[in-house]
Symmetry: C2
Subunit: 180 residues, 2 copies
């Protein structure tokens, strides 16, 4: 039988531009919580979710909101069963994010604040290049807006801070707020 | 901080005709596990899921399978984080059920075996009446097949057994298999 540790369910919601470091930071936090601390943690990632749960949806505001709604449903079920959810989604619309905050247990907004210039320079998937050419529509930061969080629980300068520092900031936050 | 008990994640999958007692039995089990034993349990119910997660889907075989696929995704995430999932879906296709078995942790098929005659007599929602008239298409048992489980972990004669007995059978199974 697996050991269950004392932990509270919560949703760490990583928002930011494409290539701003959302998934990388979430993965680093996952490793610490899951492998080192043996907690119940689940990753929900934009790319993965779109391949399985919402493969019929596009990137218009309406479809993005539908996507986030379905993820919220899952995050709600997990967090109320004491699971820590690490969700990384561009989630560019403030209104949509506020809806998640109301729905789930212990919503923690993590703003991955990385300048567009740096995101575009990274461009590991070549998306920015294609978006600039006009080959991809509704691309956040280029042809679609990103509404910056006004009062995120955590803001990470992911353009200059190393991943380990970002992960530490989050772990410290969870400990300080007695979530782990 | 909530107390976490020692428990293993599993998926109790209630399958059977409409009105066969799937949801009622699952609700009774939920009460025991959640309220009495304070375990991490989650209900996934056909009607509820279709209103939130999959409201765009119909009842053709293809759409039914899509619905079940999405539910499986959630059941997988919950069960691997030590949550007990009580899922009640007609889920008439054997192949679709076998897919769930492969995907999730500790799949337990609960066949709510109630004769069609009794289900039709109950008909609290008036669905059978409408299906007989031809007002509802793809209605399991009337105009659509129900493929009976061949080797369910648990078979409940929900046509004659009282709910409490059915719930007890399930609790006993979980205890015997050291899942709670």
């Amino acid at each position: 039988m697996k050991k269950n540790n004392k932990q509270k369910g919560c949703v760490l919601w990583f928002t930011g531009l494409s290539q701003s470091g959302k998934s990388t930071t979430a993965d680093a936090v996952y490793k610490i919580l899951k492998e080192k601390r043996k907690l119940n943690v689940e990753r929900l990632d934009g790319d993965v979710v779109r391949q399985s749960l919402t493969k019929d949806l596009g990137f218009s505001e309406k479809d993005r909101n539908k996507n986030i709604e379905k993820v919220t449903f899952i995050a709600k079920l997990l967090s109320r069963n004491n699971v820590i959810v690490l969700a990384s989604f561009i989630s560019p619309y403030r209104k949509a994010r506020e809806k998640i905050r109301k729905e789930v247990n212990n919503y923690i907004e993590v703003f991955c604040n990385c300048p567009l210039k740096i995101c575009e320079k990274r461009d590991t998937k070549g998306f920015y290049k294609r978006a600039r050419k006009g080959d991809i529509e509704n691309f956040t930061g280029i042809s679609d807006p990103y509404e910056r969080p006004k009062n995120p629980e955590i803001e990470l300068k992911t353009g200059k801070l190393p991943i380990e520092k970002c992960a530490d900031t989050i772990i410290n936050y969870l400990e300080k707020n007695k979530l782990i």
